[in-house]
């Protein structure tokens, strides 16, 4: 009997366990999945919590219900990956030897990377919205907030879901407008990038939208520290931006177990082949989702497309065949723009977000890189798709793993 071990039962790990449970021959293979946490969060939903559009219950389910019964599910912290001897040590001392390892330990915010951030103002005038705790605390703060300098701050790339900070700005603009205090709120978006977003086409469109909504962008801002006594953020070149309420997206890093096991880069992301998803260190270790260092978006949609390729490659690897180099960096995401509308973007390693229709050429029904009400409904419906199709590794009709070029106005880099 051989062992296939999956570390992490988040979006990526759960999809993989469901795919492989259907593919692997149970006479030869035992599948085990490890995760220290009980709760599965629908992380895209965190964005809506501060504005009271979603409640906590909308984004929380038990991890167990998404793991097939025939798989061994171990709820325990991971102490060490001994890649030299193909073994994983758990916190309780138990050893899990493996023949194939899939790492899906994800990424998380690390506020301690920025001087002063987790100081006296943390969860008082300074919040994140990438954790359930941060998003909920921010909702309580916003409920009674009367206005002032509202600064949304992005520390550094890469982050999980790179469009979320902008969506947050758009939704905040809508929220303050509905509350009738928009004119009392001075909104600023502070970013280390040279524009609103990493992809030029998209940055132009979203940058224009920021301007239209009267949200000031401060670009090229590399944060040195946050002063929570006098309420300002300061860049390395001495620029200071004052705030009354700061919403920050701190540095994102991979799990500490990756550092302990000497498998990661400076941010604990694992060097991974960007087309096959095999780790660069060991050929029987594969990596998926936001645990990798591949230059794609660290979002669930990317993990979803990766899961199809990785499933193929695990089967190829088992059968001693060459791996397919099929992952193309494909990502697609809805971008909430407020007032019940949203954008949809579709891109990969080589092709920037473009105009067109999705998922079907010409027919759509969703419009790419354009604002529409239908896109907003798409985003809301997606939560159900996530829980009932995506996590279970069931096919999503009409959506292909590789980005399709038909029906899109393509400009390659």
């Amino acid at each position: 009997m051989k062992n296939l071990l999956i570390l992490g039962a988040g979006t990526a790990g759960t999809m993989m366990v469901n795919h492989l449970n259907r593919k692997l021959n149970k006479k030869d293979w035992k599948i085990t999945i490890v995760d220290q946490h009980k709760t599965h969060y629908y992380q895209p939903g965190f964005l809506f919590i501060p504005f009271d559009i979603y409640k906590e219950k909308d984004v929380i389910k038990n991890k167990k219900q998404f793991i097939p019964k025939s798989v061994e599910y171990v709820q325990e912290e991971i102490e060490l990956i001994e890649h030299g001897t193909n073994n994983v040590v758990l916190k309780n001392g138990k050893n899990l030897p493996y023949d194939i390892l899939i790492i899906a330990t994800g990424s998380k915010i690390v506020p301690d990377e920025i001087e002063g951030l987790k100081g006296e103002g943390w969860f008082k005038d300074v919040f994140d919205f990438y954790t359930i705790e941060g998003a909920s605390a921010l909702r309580d703060k916003l409920e009674n907030w009367k206005g002032g300098k509202f600064v949304v701050h992005l520390a550094e790339m890469p982050i999980k879901c790179p469009v979320a900070p902008l969506e947050f700005c758009f939704l905040a603009d809508w929220y303050f407008t509905k509350k009738g205090i928009r004119e009392k709120v001075e909104m600023t978006y502070v970013t280390p990038l040279t524009g609103a977003f990493t992809k030029q086409n998209c940055s132009d469109v979203l940058g224009y939208l920021m301007e239209e909504k009267n949200i000031k962008i401060v670009p090229d801002f590399d944060v040195e520290l946050v002063d929570e006594k006098d309420n300002f953020v300061q860049s390395y070149d001495g620029q200071k931006i004052g705030y009354d309420l700061l919403v920050t997206i701190p540095t994102n890093m991979g799990d500490e177990v990756i550092a302990r096991s000497d498998l990661g880069d400076d941010l604990n992301f694992i060097p991974t082949d960007k087309h096959t998803l095999q780790s660069k260190k060991k050929e029987n270790i594969f990596v998926i989702g936001d645990a990798t260092d591949v230059p794609a978006s660290k979002a669930g949609s990317v993990a979803h497309f990766q899961a199809d390729v990785l499933t193929k490659n695990i089967m190829k690897f088992i059968n001693g065949k060459d791996l397919v180099k099929e992952f193309d960096g494909h990502a697609n995401c809805f971008i909430e723009s407020g007032f019940g509308k949203a954008f949809l973007i579709d891109f990969n390693y080589d092709i920037e977000p473009v105009e067109g229709t999705f998922p079907l050429p010409i027919i759509g029904p969703f419009a790419l890189l354009k604002e529409s009400r239908l896109n907003h409904f798409g985003k809301l419906i997606f939560r159900y798709i996530y829980w009932y199709l995506l996590l279970k590794g069931l096919p999503m009709p009409g959506i292909s793993t590789q980005m399709t070029k038909i029906g899109k106005k393509i400009k390659t880099k």
């Binding site: 790339m157 890469p158 790179p162 990038l193 990493t198 070149d237 880069d265 230059p295 978006s297 660290k298």
Partner: protein, 105 residues
């Protein structure tokens, strides 16, 4: 592919002005690029960083991150910003004749 002339040395550059052939680089070119980046005087410390980047690139095939340079004691972040104001890695890699560090998505 565009070319650019630095004091009689013609080099191949990409559309952002980064050299595409490191073997065409020399210190005089580095100094000329530094001026374009607003650094009037390259000090010994500037050159130490530039040489470090070139060595690192030769060994690893990529640029180190600012975090890595801090961690390994090469230079702290504050110093890098004072040496190369506005964008330490973007500027120093261009002066060093290396490629622009890959921006993250």
């Amino acid at each position: 592919m565009a070319t650019k002339d630095y004091g009689g040395n013609t080099v191949d550059v990409n559309d952002e002005g980064y050299l595409t052939e490191f073997k065409q680089w020399n210190e005089a070119i580095g100094e000329a690029i530094a001026k374009e980046e607003g650094i009037e005087q390259m000090t010994d410390r500037h050159w130490e960083i530039i040489k470090y980047l070139q060595k690192y690139f030769e060994d690893n095939g990529e640029m180190p991150s600012i975090r890595n340079m801090k961690k390994t004691g090469v230079a702290d972040t504050k110093e890098l910003y004072s040496l190369f104001p506005g964008g330490p890695l973007k500027k120093s890699s261009r002066i060093a004749g290396l490629k622009k560090p890959e921006s993250c998505i």
